[in-house]
Symmetry: C2
Subunit: 159 residues, 2 copies
């Protein structure tokens, strides 16, 4: 399947498109997204499903690693991330592959050589993550400041 705009060639039960909201603005748009995020069609909600995919401990790092350094072998990526276990890198890469976000190329050699690379879809996701990461880099310290302050209050209550 080549990359398509929207939902072409997809199963008919996946009928959520951006036509539903792109004409909306302000509060109405927010309400619409609340509904989109709070509704499941056949057990599936694209928003929550995609958030769940990048929500595990390692997916974002694997995507960034492949996005920043291009095609990488298993152990190259493992060493770049540093503290990931072999098992979790395997699990993470299998999930990303199943979602069409990365490709896995096996070279029939001894010892084996396996290379991973972002797909077009994976690059597209990484660009969205980039926007989010920029926000997090700018605003994260403020959030963490509040969080530490709140923890202090809790400690004071205990004491």
């Amino acid at each position: 399947m080549t990359k398509q705009e929207g939902t072409a060639t997809l199963p008919s039960y996946l009928t959520v498109t951006n036509a539903d909201f792109e004409h909306l603005t302000g509060t109405e748009k927010n309400k619409k997204f609340f509904e989109l995020a709070n509704t499941t069609k056949n057990q599936i909600c694209p928003i929550r499903d995609i958030v769940a995919r990048i929500s595990d401990k390692w997916s974002v790092l694997a995507i960034y690693g492949l996005g920043g350094y291009g095609k990488l072998r298993f152990n190259e990526l493992k060493h770049k991330i540093g503290d990931i276990s072999q098992r979790m890198l395997t699990v993470t890469l299998r999930n990303l592959e199943a979602d069409g976000l990365i490709t896995r190329t096996i070279y029939p050699q001894v010892p084996p050589r396996v290379e991973y690379e972002l797909t077009e879809l994976g690059h597209s996701l990484m660009q969205q993550l980039q926007l989010f990461a920029e926000w997090a880099t700018k605003n994260g310290p403020e959030i963490i400041y509040y969080r530490e302050k709140a923890n202090k209050v809790i400690k004071d209550r205990i004491a």
Copy 2:
């Protein structure tokens, strides 16, 4: 603390700013973000911490609910989300409050009346989530299509 640009008035150990990357482009920028997401300063990484905050099962829905409908009482928000338990809504709201993303206002009445509302920081986060949600709405079906196909392959292997 009023909302500030960047890291003003924050503890000195939180020194990550966007000055480090905003001049970069393309691959170099991707590498920089890999490093930012893969580095911790005093156990803290803003990117991974913020991803972790929105990664639990209910935070995104709570933020969208308050973003779409404004100030809401506890049970109003609970009924809008629908299938959240009382315990998890309480936990979720306490976490968001501790991070400075929502305010909690108690009216000393019997029975009690408590209202929740996004802060400026919370609205800012929701706007970023909106961008991500738009991407997920457009591209989620394609990802889910791949995922279902991959699951089918796994079933075939078992059979």
